[in-house]
Amino acid sequence: MSWQVIQQALPLFRKAFVLTLELSAIGVVLATILGLVIALLREYKVPVLSQICATFEELLRNTPLLIQLFFLYYGFPSIGLKLSAQACAIIGISLLGAAYMSGAFRGGFSGIPTIQVESAKALGLSPLQMVRHVTLPQGLTRSVPAVAANAIFLVKETSVFTVIAVPELTNTARDLIGMYYRTDEYLLMLVVAYAIILIPLSVVLTLLERRVRRGTFGD
């Protein structure tokens, strides 16, 4: 272990760290929004669209991100569609994330007791009013744990971007190892970098989860 090696690599790691953060943030936000839309389309069985969304979800959830990225990055140009590596990365993680987030949201919605829907009906609420005042707020609250777990999963998945030459953390570490052969130092830095992102994130999400649950359901 050499401190000097670590110091020299710091600027590069810092840049990679920021990029990983950016890509993760964009990915998680887009995935959440898109996932919610898909979940609502499926929950309310919007014709055609809900079937398309279901197929999309199954396809993405049951194939590895790495292959999805290869397909987007190397495969699509041969049929005339060329996207930059970062664009592929963002599209890949957002779509994959959306498929997972949709599942999380649908899980949240389906956890709402039927009695809640029935008492909303008994008050004469229209379907839209019911979504707005009853099912959406309760469903979102119930989704929080699964959404949080997915967010962490997505941040971790950004490591796969290494395969399409996006200079995020994993790519940078492997690159340095390949050039200077200081495996221990670079691996340590890599692990620490992910720990710095993910430990606070998982702590915050756990707290949020607890608060939301206590807030709404009192347990």
Binding site: Y73, V163, A165, D175, I177
Partner: protein
């Protein structure tokens, strides 16, 4: 190719790698090579390996009287394959550099090489200075990557895991040029119309050698002798004609590549 972990006797071997004796006793030699780099190391449609490096490896095994257990690596995996005892010998277009000498032992060279740059005819790059601010595709762990990182920090490097990915991305127009060993570029440019090796040599000319684990004197000595014998027997000349020549344009001569 589930590389058999023919793990053999004890601590001695794991410190310096397997000796020639141990390899002979085991009956197989494990050689690292590329799988996606025609005409040096690649896999044919029938699943068999072929190429210049592969031909050398087969000869080595024949002379040792053992079978080959091929381990496919990417450029950045070559050192670790040795370090972590996954292979006995690397025959994967391994350019000799000072950094690498500190972590592995190189045998006598069997090929000459230098960094080259290929670019589209439409926007031909003929000098390294033209690359400033442009995007250059390289493979991780190659001399080209190290060379540009150290000498031309203004060039945007796009770093890929494997040759396939590097060339594919370049062909998709994701980079302005691609740098790698000139020898592959000749072959690639011949296969791909519309591309020229605009810079034939950059930096110092280097050599390509077999590599063994640091301290594996037994195998190192044997390999040095083997290279000498094979050179004398004209093996490399023959291998050049059968493996490389068909892939190269006619302006490349055997003496550009092989060591006499």
């Amino acid at each position: 190719a589930c590389g058999g972990s023919s793990s053999s006797d004890g601590a001695a071997s794991s410190q310096q790698g397997q000796t020639v004796e141990q390899i002979k006793k085991a009956g197989t030699i494990r050689i690292a090579t590329f799988g996606d780099l025609p005409p040096y190391g690649y896999v044919k449609n029938d699943g068999t390996r072929a190429g210049y490096d592969v031909a050398l490896g087969n000869q080595v095994a024949k002379d040792l009287g053992v079978k080959v257990d091929w381990v496919q690596v990417n450029a950045d995996g070559r050192v670790d394959a040795l370090k972590s005892d996954k292979v006995d010998l690397v025959l994967a277009n391994f350019t000799v550099t000072d950094e690498r000498k500190q972590v592995v032992d190189f045998a006598s060279p069997y090929m000459k090489v230098s960094i080259g740059v290929v670019s589209p005819d439409k926007a031909k790059i003929t000098s390294a200075d033209q690359l400033k601010g442009k995007t250059l595709a390289v493979t991780k762990g190659t001399t080209a990557e190290t060379f540009f990182t150290q000498n031309y920090p203004d060039v945007n490097l796009q770093k890929f895991d494997s040759k396939t990915q590097q060339f594919q991305a370049f062909k998709d127009g994701r980079a302005d040029a691609l740098a790698d060993d000139n020898t592959y570029l000749y072959a690639w440019a011949k296969d791909n119309k519309g591309y020229t090796v605009g810079i034939k040599t950059l930096g110092e000319e280097s050599t390509i050698s077999p590599a063994v684990k640091k301290g594996n004197k037994s195998l190192l000595d044997w390999t040095n002798k083997e290279i000498k014998t094979l050179t004398e027997q004209g093996f490399f000349e023959k291998a050049y004609q059968s493996e490389l020549a068909p892939s190269f344009t006619s302006d490349i001569k055997p003496e550009d590549v092989i060591i006499k």
